[in-house]
Amino acid sequence: MSENQEEKGKKEKNAKPKKGGFKLILVMVVMGCLAPFGVPTLLVCMGLAPTLVALVTDTDENRSGLATIGYMNFAGVLPFLIDLWQNGQTMEAALAIVRQPFSWAIMLGAAGIGHLILYAVPPVIASVFLINQESRLRTLREGMQQLEAIWGPDVASTTSLDAVKSSRGG
């Protein structure tokens, strides 16, 4: 018995590093992907700061907050990365982009839109879902009443069939 518990405990311990390992791998992949782009690109990628913040702060299991912000933030940073790459991926070009407030407005604004979506959409979705669920609840209640009307209160009980019959005098 105790051996089983120990094994279980070991498995749980082994399972935890897997989650951290995934993050590490993800970071390494991102780093690996970014490596060919060089420092100027990384400089422009500072515009992905909201995504990095979300990466750290989003505790949701599905990482849907990270995804929402990350997709939008990336969509906002991508035009500047293309612009940098078209201009030879130099530090001057990168700095020119970084120095422009407009660039930051676009990059961070896009992430802000992601935030806005994350703030506004879930309540709407929840409301629509719950309206639907209330309707379903009414239908189920009617179904229960119908069953009770057909079979009597015994349909809700757990007494044996013979006991039900004898209680009805049958």
Partner: protein, 679 residues
């Protein structure tokens, strides 16, 4: 002829039809022909009003001997009043159905209207030719058919002295044997019984009655003038029937021989019709004198009374139970039998009976049981004497019937049966023991029925098994006279239509009657007992009556169906689905309207439907549980809106954002590519 008949019928007024052959006239009583079991009325043939008949209507106090009617109708002898018909008739005076017996009206009056009359003494030849020979022919006829008349006496013989018409023996079937027959005309052992407890006797008992009747005719007066029945019985016990009856009277030797043979107290020595026939043809024999039993050298006292013979002693002991127990237990009785009577065999029999009852241990009725058994051992041919009832084994049937009809206590009878007194009684008989074995077996069977308390058993079953012609005495058929199972459904339909019906069309009597007459399984009726589940009772009743309707009809019994409806209500409640229950109830009501019991049974006891309904119920219950679970989930979601928003809204937000981002990325890439292409 037809015109004359029609005129005659009109003169007689309206009669009540019997079996479609006779008319009985309630306003034309014929008291001169009244019988032991009922009052006589004028009767006529339906098709010939010129011939006179008498109809005897059973009064209801006792049961007529219906089981013997068929045999009696087969008899066609000028010396026996001819029975023409027997059947049930609605009698307005009693406002009930009664049993009626129709006889040809005798041409003469009763030879003796009372026993106190005196008649001129006839010559030997006249008595022989005009009375004895026709009567012997009548007895031969009874012996041939195996019928015991049971009511041969001077007041039941229709005869005019000097006429060419032979004497005719009157009715013997309107009441059980022994009822209406003075104990004078009964053998000593039968005379020791209460009249109703004598039961059906044997042919030799009829011969004894003829012998006593003959003594009246020969002497022209009552041989025991001025003596009451008890005094006559004591005299017979003391001297024997023949000596007690004739004493020192001087009679022709042929008559003395005849009377000695007929009035013998030993049934084995008593003359039968065959012996009488031989006497008639001139053969003369001297019967043995089997009169009074052996006398002791010293008397034996019970309750201050002296006894010299066993038979009176047994009677005395039965009347003084407490004293009898003392003399049995202190052994003085056994000593007296051995020393004073010199009957070691009888003493041994008494000792065995006492040992047997002592082995069983003392019960509540120990003293009565002990005395009854010892009395049987002392005087085996006499009746069983128990707690004031003196009954011959065959008399149990008639006593039971009378007790049931009059609502008397049945405890004593039940104890007589269950104590197996009859088995002991038969075992104590000597020479005729083998003839009585079937009787012992029958009574053993009856004892086992009496011990059971279930429907279809008990004393009611004993009643119908032992009285094969008895009608059903169920209170349901009060005022009716149900003789056959074929009549039951019609009678029940009438009861149902009357409005004053009991809660159920079944009781112990009806169940026992059906078991006995239809030879039906007892198990069917066990389900009808009061302790049985109401569902089974209803179905058992319905299946029984349904089968009877199929077998005997009638096709429509709407009132009986309606009567059974509340009883089959548990069958309807068996259906768990209310709509199905309502549907079956509707169908059942349709069957009730059609008056078909079998259809009603089919509707309420459809096994496939019941099983299907149960399966549907279980499926519904499962569905109900699933709904409950789903509702709980939904309610939890409603109460945790934020969680729902998080769990459902955020992934959708991510999807929307990804879609938007894809569009933006696509636009950006398209723009870059476009610019590159343009220049």
């Amino acid at each position: 002829m037809a015109e004359e008949n029609k005129t005659q019928q009109e003169n007689w007024g309206s009669g009540l039809p019997l079996e479609g052959r006779f008319f009985l006239y309630p306003d034309k009583a014929l008291p001169a022909f009244n019988a032991a079991g009922g009052v006589a009325y004028a009767a006529r043939y339906k098709n010939d009003a010129t011939q006179a008949f008498i109809g005897i209507i059973s009064s209801g106090g006792v049961l007529p001997r219906i089981e013997n009617v068929h045999a009696m109708r087969m008899i066609d002898s000028p010396s026996i009043l001819r029975l023409c018909e027997g059947g049930v008739i609605h009698w307005p005076a009693q406002n009930a159905n009664c049993y009626a017996l129709v006889y040809e009206q005798p041409s003469a009056e009763r030879h003796w209207k009372s026993f106190n009359e005196t008649h001129p003494v006839m010559s030997e030849d006249t008595v022989n030719n005009a009375f004895i020979i026709p009567m012997i022919k009548a007895l031969l006829e009874f012996q041939r058919t195996g019928l015991v008349h049971g009511a041969i006496r001077p007041t039941n013989i229709f005869w005019r002295e000097g006429s060419m018409t032979p004497p005719q023996i009157g009715d013997g079937l309107s009441a059980p044997c022994g009822i209406g027959q003075p104990s004078l005309f009964e053998t000593i052992e039968r005379a020791l019984c209460q009249p109703i407890a004598r039961g059906e006797g044997n042919h030799v008992d009829d011969c004894y009655a003829f012998g006593m009747t003959l003594a009246f005719v020969i002497l022209g007066s009552h041989p025991f003038q001025g003596m009451d029945d008890q005094a006559i019985l004591r005299l017979k016990l003391d001297k024997g029937s023949f000596s007690a009856t004739l004493g020192n009277r001087r009679l022709p030797p042929a008559h003395i021989e005849l009377l000695r043979g007929l009035l013998s107290d030993d049934p084995r020595q008593r003359w039968t019709a065959e012996d009488l026939e031989q006497w008639m043809t001139g053969r003369r024999s001297t019967p043995k004198n089997s009169d009074a039993g052996r006398r002791a050298s010293r008397h034996f006292s019970i309750a201050g009374k002296e006894y010299w013979q066993l038979r009176p002693l047994a009677a005395g002991m039965a009347e003084n139970v407490a004293e009898a127990v003392k003399v049995i237990e202190n052994g003085s009785l056994e000593k007296w039998i051995t020393r004073s009577l010199g009957d070691d065999e009888r003493a041994k029999g008494v000792a065995e009976v006492v040992d047997e009852i002592n082995e069983k241990g003392k019960t509540a009725s120990y003293q009565d049981q002990l005395v009854a058994r010892v009395c049987i051992a002392l005087d085996p041919v006499s009746p069983i004497r128990y707690r004031g009832l003196s009954v011959m084994p065959r008399g149990i049937a008639t006593v039971l019937a009378e007790a049931m009809m009059t609502g008397q206590n049945l405890q004593v009878l039940s104890e007589i049966l269950t104590s197996r007194f009859v088995t002991l009684w038969v075992n104590m008989q000597k020479d005729v023991k083998t003839d009585l074995v079937p009787l012992a077996q029958q009574l053993e069977r009856m004892a086992s029925y009496a011990e059971k308390t279930s429907f279809g058993s008990g004393l009611e079953r004993v009643l119908y098994e032992m009285n094969t012609g008895a009608p059903c005495l169920s209170p349901l058929f009060k005022g009716d006279f149900v003789l056959s199972p074929k009549q039951i459904l019609n009678s029940l339909e009438r009861v149902a239509a009357s409005g004053s019906r009991p809660s159920e069309p079944m009781d112990r009597h009806l169940a026992a009657f059906l078991v006995a007459r239809e030879k039906r399984s007892e198990s069917l009726f066990t389900a009808m007992g009061l302790g049985a589940p109401s569902l089974k009772r209803g179905l058992a009743l319905l299946s029984l009556f349904g089968e009877m309707q199929n077998r005997y009809g009638p096709d429509k019994l709407p009132h009986l169906c309606a009567w059974l409806m509340p009883l089959v209500e548990p069958c309807l409640r068996r259906f768990l689905s209310k709509p199905l229950q309502d549907k079956v109830r509707r169908q059942a009501k349709e069957a009730v309207d059609q008056g078909s019991l079998s259809l009603l049974l089919k509707r309420v006891d459809d096994t496939a439907r019941v099983v299907g309904d149960e399966n549907d119920f279980l499926a519904a219950r499962s569905m109900y549980r699933n709904i409950q679970k789903e509702m709980a989930t939904i309610e939890r979601n409603i109460n945790n809106k934020n969680q729902v928003a998080r769990e459902m809204g955020r992934p959708i937000s991510a999807s929307i954002a990804s879609l938007l981002a894809l569009i933006l990325i696509a636009v950006t890439l398209w723009k870059t590519v476009w610019q590159g292409l343009m220049g």
